[in-house]
């Protein structure tokens, strides 16, 4: 069971000119087993939505609610949200010098499960996931994200997704900067995660490309901090041919 409900979410950030509202009332429900794509032009607030759900301190929630299976996500700390079953694959994963991938993964898994993973199966699991994502076994001994190529960073995010096995995954522009081979590898990882059971996926992207490999059930067009249009997968095809112009103009006119 996993149901992420976002209701009239309003979020602002502090700027030099005072607080600026980025999200202006976002309502979205992701039910069991559903994959939702959020598409929108740069600066529409897509990433703000992702980081706000994860609890990044830079963003101030000014209104609305976010619940996961009825529990108030906004009242939780960042780590509590992860332990409740939320996962954010970041667009720009952060370097943590001196902390190895294997130590990081084990520490995270232990925190999520509340107990250390069984050593023998864990090592097998980690190596299996790395191999499927086409990451060398020596990858585990490297420092987290330090010196990783863009593609390695994204594959590392998906490795975490598969190993930590959350209820709901938010993927923030996981496809950006990937060549077609890497995009396929990453998509396969997400599809393995989805196949695991009643998982929710919120796929944030600028391009329709990734939707050829990860099939969305719903597509939302995001413009100026709001959902401007909703539909099925066919909406993505329409965006592919027409772009975001008409939504951007409509938002500017209102």
């Amino acid at each position: 069971m996993s149901k992420l409900e976002i209701n009239d979410l309003r979020v602002s950030v502090d700027t030099e000119d005072g607080p600026k509202e980025i999200l202006k009332g976002v309502t979205l429900t992701i039910n069991d087993g559903e994959t939702h794509a959020i598409m929108g032009p740069n600066g529409s607030g897509k990433s703000t939505l992702a980081y706000s759900i994860a609890g990044h301190p830079k963003y101030t929630i000014t209104g609305g609610t976010v619940t996961l299976d009825g529990d108030d996500v906004l009242a939780m700390t960042v780590d509590e949200r992860a332990r409740a079953g939320l996962f954010l694959a970041m667009q720009y994963p952060v370097e943590v010098p001196g902390v190895s991938v294997s130590n990081f993964l084990r520490t995270a898994k232990t925190a999520i499960d509340g107990e250390a993973p069984k050593l023998r199966t864990w090592v097998k699991d980690v190596n299996g996931v790395l191999e499927q994502l086409n990451l060398d076994p020596t990858f585990a001994s490297r420092s987290v994200n330090e010196g990783f190529s863009g593609g390695e960073k994204k594959r590392h995010e998906i490795a975490q997704l598969e190993l930590l096995d959350p209820k709901v995954a938010v993927l923030d522009e996981t496809d950006s900067g990937l060549d077609i081979d890497a995009l396929k590898i990453v998509s396969e990882g997400v599809n393995r995660f989805k196949a695991d059971g009643d998982k929710g996926v919120l796929l944030i992207t600028h391009y329709t490309r990734i939707l050829r490999y990860i099939k969305p059930d719903f597509v939302h067009v995001f413009v100026d901090g709001r959902v401007a249009e909703e539909g099925g997968p066919e909406l993505a095809d329409q965006l592919e041919s027409e772009g975001y112009d008409k939504y951007v103009k409509a938002a500017a006119a209102s």
Partner: protein
């Protein structure tokens, strides 16, 4: 920042500036005034807490026990008289402070560590210095002599309570491969003033690691000169200052020979009210030192309010005909983005901070390259973290 040879050339066009990197040294105690604290080389040091070690404190009979292991092929013993006198200055040291001149002139004996030429010593030579009475002001001289093409690791391990001024001279023979590790794991009340002077032979490799955790005041000057072209020096430092502690590390790589290298990395963490660390990284590239390479780096991680980290890289260049010269210095609190990333994977804030601090020191601990003390250093970092970051009631 990296200094390119172009910018070096333009820097050379300015008139000669006043520098503290060319002191006129002397073995005569009378040639040195006791410092007042206003001097460039003393301005950060809390002289009042040195119990006179920097000036004219009596060097009393030692209350610090000194024990060591003696691997085969190595001579280690306390020597006195003419032999002790003959060891004064074997590193090329000509004292530029009153206290160092006093140590060389007044201390009757020296601890000699003598590794003959072509001798490779696999087992680290560990000298344990354990202080028993902090009210005894004392001084010591250590002379390490590594013959040509020898290979050895020496660990000076300081524990307990001492008030001690120490001059450590290190003569690294041509082609030798030498590591000297000095661990300051003192009790809270110790006062330790030390000067480590190394002369690195032709094509020799020298590694010096300064590791300071304990003590009320710890100041160490780790200096290097070269005895021919091709020598390489790696100067490493790791320190962790708690409330009220003053930990000061100064390095000086004096490139007085061509094609020599120096690489310095010092990393420190600070926690607690009035924890104070100082790092001064002096590098001098003399006119003769063409084709040299130098890089120095200092990073400080400030864990709580009320700490002060001073970090001063100081590069003086007399020739632009070099391979490279650069420095970096950074003092910062925890990186919010790092903590967010780790916490977004379910890791608690405390555990995330612990991971970040371990990560901060990990690379450096590995670079020290002495497996038997790596584990101990990790544990000491853990024990330091338990005082603040990992405290049960820490918010």
């Amino acid at each position: 920042m990296t200094v390119t040879t172009d910018s070096v050339r333009s820097a050379l066009e300015v008139d000669k500036v006043e520098s503290h990197l060319h002191p006129a040294g002397s073995f005569e105690v009378a040639d040195h005034e006791a410092p007042t604290g206003r001097e460039e080389i003393w301005r950060f040091t809390p002289l009042k807490r040195l119990k006179g070690l920097h000036a004219d404190a009596e060097f009393m009979r030692s209350a610090t026990s000194c024990t060591w292991n003696t691997p085969a092929g190595v001579r280690i013993e306390g020597v006195s008289g003419d032999e002790a006198r003959s060891l004064r200055g074997i590193s090329g040291l000509v004292p530029n402070t009153r206290w160092a001149a006093r140590v060389l002139a007044e201390v009757p004996s020296s601890l000699l560590i003598d590794v003959p030429a072509d001798t490779e010593v696999a087992e680290p030579i560990v000298v344990d210095l354990d202080g028993e009475d902090v009210s005894v002001t004392e001084a010591g001289h250590v002379a390490m002599r590594f013959g040509a093409h020898s290979k050895a690791i020496v660990v000076l391990n300081h524990t307990g309570s001492s008030t001690i001024a120490a001059v450590v001279e290190i003569a690294v023979g041509d082609g030798a491969d030498v590591s000297v590790v000095s661990i300051q794991d003192w009790a809270d009340d110790a006062v330790h003033l030390s000067h480590h002077q190394a002369r690195v032979g032709r094509d020799a490799t020298y590694k010096h690691a300064a590791i300071s955790f304990g003590g009320d005041v710890v100041r160490m000057d780790a200096n290097v000169t070269y005895d021919g072209p091709g020598g390489s020096a790696e100067l490493l430092g790791l320190y962790f200052a708690d409330a009220g502690q003053h930990i000061e590390h100064r390095i000086f790589a004096d490139h007085n020979a061509p094609r020599t290298k120096s690489h310095a990395v010092y990393k420190g963490a600070l926690q607690g009210e009035k924890a104070h660390t100082v790092w001064v990284g002096n590098v001098l590239i003399r006119k003769v030192a063409e084709g040299i390479e130098t890089y120095e780096e200092n990073r400080n991680l400030v864990l709580t309010d009320g700490c002060q980290a001073d970090s001063i890289p100081n590069l003086e260049i007399e020739t632009g005909e070099i391979e490279g010269a650069g420095h970096a210095s950074a003092t910062a609190r925890f990186d919010d983005e790092q903590l967010f990333y780790l916490q977004s994977r379910g890791i608690s804030e405390q555990e995330a901070q612990r991971l970040v601090v371990h990560g901060f020191f990990n690379d450096l601990i590995r670079q020290v390259g002495v497996p038997s003390i790596e584990d101990r250093l990790m544990k000491t970092v853990e024990a330091e973290l338990a005082k603040n970051v990992l405290r049960e009631d820490a918010s």
